[in-house]
């Protein structure tokens, strides 16, 4: 049985994360290379949508990741509030910018997809609308975190907000879907692609894995710099090899 609490101490986490980061960068590059190859060259051209549909290989995994990261953030928030571990808050705030990035990427690729398909950049589609609100939730989290000076208070306030958010996301999604059916604005959904070929599914899965590895690598890097910033005057930071060299 591994003692997880041991790893939650920044002094043990910092060097461990340092070792993991290159591994996840490599994984991200590998998965992305294979995924993009499948997406661009192996997957067949869509009969109705032509070549434009290929943006799905970025759009769909990015949407998945943006939702998934919010859940992970809420998970760390819960851990932080229950066990009072310092690492949890750092992980939450390290994940938020990446989550926002994926939400933005999903919106942007959605717009790029919509233009050739329906001749408009923006469709009030239930999924796109929810994605937009998710993007706002990320922005709110980051703004709140940045507005509170004391880092521990910022972490804890952010934790409460992300928990409130995670309860609300399904409700928001449901309400937007409901609203959409009432107004019948855009009945065509972006993600309802006809006859998903298995190569397409593979491409999307590989891209999702690539995004996943990228997220872990970037979040770990960000968490490491947050750690240095906050614990700059503690003993373990002063004994780090890279810090010693710099001094």
């Amino acid at each position: 049985m591994i003692n997880w609490f041991k790893f939650s101490a920044p002094s043990t986490f910092y060097p461990l994360a340092g070792k993991l980061i290159p591994i996840f960068w490599t994984l991200a590059a590998l998965f992305a290379a294979v995924g993009l190859y499948i997406g661009f060259f192996v997957a067949p051209t869509d009969a109705q949508q032509g070549e434009g549909y290929r943006i799905i290989f970025i759009h769909v995994p990015a949407s998945w990741m943006s939702m998934f990261i919010y859940c992970v953030m809420a998970f760390w928030a819960l851990m932080g509030l229950t066990f009072q571990t310092r690492l949890s808050g750092m992980m939450s705030s390290a994940l938020a910018p990446t989550g926002a990035l994926f939400a933005f990427l999903s919106l942007w690729t959605g717009a790029l997809w919509g233009k050739p398909m329906w001749g408009t950049w923006w469709v009030w589609d239930a999924r796109l609308t929810s994605e937009l609100i998710l993007f706002f939730l990320y922005l709110g989290y980051m703004a709140l975190h940045a507005a509170i000076d004391d880092p521990r208070r910022a972490d804890r306030a952010g934790a409460v907000l992300s928990l409130v958010g995670v309860v609300n996301v399904p409700i928001i999604y449901f309400s937007v879907t409901w609203w959409n059916t009432l107004h019948q604005g855009a009945s065509v959904s972006l993600t309802k692609s006809p006859s998903m070929a298995s190569t397409m599914l593979w491409g999307m899965l590989l891209m999702a894995l690539a995004f996943w590895a990228y997220t872990i690598a970037v979040a770990l890097m960000r968490a490491r710099s947050i750690m240095l910033e906050r614990e700059g005057n503690t003993e373990w930071v002063k004994h780090l090899p890279d810090v010693k060299e710099a001094v």
Partner: protein
């Protein structure tokens, strides 16, 4: 019994404070009236168009008017230290918070419900639609106060908290807006408003159960 008396005490105190300083309440109400008056000026006076946008316009004006009062919900008590004393009360802080939220609704939410018919007439809404609008506001405005309290508590003592509250709270208002305005729209479309109103009530029950608790957690963090 004791819980109830602490709840009433917090409620009564906030109402008394409002009575001493009426302008703040009237500002929010006036804001609601002026926003809904400006809309036709910006869009044009065609009755058909106005009737179509009325539910959404009035609901959005209600959201913004509620936001105005939110920043003051805890900030004043925080500044003069009475919030600290509440947090140290032997009674659960969530009960006192519930009292304060109720006071906020009575002062900022209920007047909007009562004003709605007058504004509804400006937008040429039929009488029965005005009834549905009032009902939807009656269920929806407490929801706005409850959710808003969480944001107000989180931003307490943060830099630029007034703007931050809107950024945090407005996305959470999406379901309320959709079901609230949707109730009136589907009534006008002849589809019946019951479904929307039931969902709105369900959200209210959910928020009444969890929001005071989340607000309390946020307040304790902000007081640190």
């Amino acid at each position: 019994m004791m819980l109830l008396s602490a709840y009433v005490a917090a409620l009564r105190r906030d109402l008394l404070l409002v009575m001493r300083r009426k302008t703040e309440v009237l500002t929010a109400l006036f804001f609601f009236v002026i926003v809904t008056t400006l809309l036709p000026l910006g869009i044009g006076p065609e009755p058909d168009l106005l009737r179509k946008i009325a539910p959404g316009a009035m609901w959005i004006a209600a959201l913004l008017a509620t936001l105005l009062g939110l920043q003051r919900l805890f900030a004043a008590d925080h500044a003069d230290g009475t919030l600290e004393q509440m947090a140290l009360s032997p009674e659960p802080l969530s009960i006192l918070v519930a009292g304060k939220i109720t006071a906020h609704w009575l002062v900022c939410g209920l007047p909007l419900v009562l004003l709605a018919p007058v504004i509804g007439l400006q937008f040429d809404l039929p009488t029965d639609a005005i009834g549905v609008l009032m009902l939807s506001l009656l269920i929806g405005t407490p929801l706005l106060s409850l959710l808003g309290a969480i944001g107000a508590a989180l931003t307490l003592g943060a830099r630029g908290s007034a703007l931050l509250v809107s950024l945090l709270v407005l996305p959470l208002y999406v379901p309320t807006l959709i079901f609230g305005a949707g109730a009136v729209e589907s009534h006008i479309a002849g589809l019946g408003a019951a479904g929307h109103l039931y969902l709105l009530s369900a959200l209210l029950v959910l928020a009444a159960a969890f929001a005071p608790w989340a607000t309390t957690a946020a307040l304790r963090i902000s007081l640190e």
